[in-house]
């Protein structure tokens, strides 16, 4: 069964499987870019032991789908896939993979960058960081998909 374009999953992520469904193997796409986010060993001076990711799964999948739609509007030639892992992740494991494919490299790079910025803005997923000496819930952006300023910020970063 081919991988879905968007997913929130407890299973390890496969960049190969996602690339296979995003990129056109017959030659329509001349560019494929990807982003992989990994669990980092240090955060704000803390020695990270592992991360536990939690999601509001139904809304998180809708959020990822919304980002796919936004990418389609911004870069009509680009195709996008994004998988986010949840549950307990060890250092160095992939928490998110994004694949963007397009006839030309510019749109593929932009779509990829835009997607990770938007994930951090609007997708209801949380990191629970377990470190040497304690644990803490990380809190970033107040999620509001209708916040145009946030969306434009992500777009500017993507096109920088």
């Amino acid at each position: 069964m081919p991988a879905p374009l968007v997913a929130v999953t407890r299973d390890p992520l496969s960049l190969d499987a996602l690339t296979a469904v995003v990129a056109d193997g017959a030659g329509a796409d001349g560019a494929v870019t990807s982003f992989t986010g990994l669990v980092r060993q240090s955060n704000l001076g803390r020695k990270v032991a592992f991360l536990e990711y939690e999601a509001y799964e139904a809304l998180a999948v809708k959020g990822l789908q919304r980002i796919v739609d936004e990418v389609k509007t911004n870069w009509p030639s680009a195709k996008l896939g994004v998988h986010h892992r949840i549950g307990r992740l060890a250092l160095g494991e992939a928490s998110i993979i994004i694949v963007a494919a397009s006839p030309h490299r510019g749109d593929a790079f932009s779509a990829c960058r835009y997607t990770i910025e938007r994930v951090k803005q609007i997708v209801p997923i949380w990191k629970h960081e377990h470190f040497d000496g304690g644990d803490v819930w990380l809190e970033g952006a107040t999620a509001d998909p209708d916040d145009e300023t946030a969306r434009q910020t992500a777009y500017r970063i993507a096109c920088a």
């Binding site: 809304l59 819930w137 970033g140 999620a143």
Partner: protein, 81 residues
Amino acid sequence: MRVTVRLFARLRDLAGAGEMVREVPAPATIEQVWRSLVKDMPALGDYERTMSVALNTDYSRMTAAVKDGDEVAFLPPVSGG
């Protein structure tokens, strides 16, 4: 009427549960569900300025009306990626 309340991340930890059924007088808005929750669990109150809300698995606003059987979710600032 009864609504299902979902809480996530630190809000869930503070409340000690991620899902609960709450009795609220009809008619009610999400804000009224939140007020009744904070009355019972004052520690949640600090999140009012920074949280997002969802109704039946779509983002919503505090002013939205809720019906019997709805699912209301309160979401701390997100940190995915």
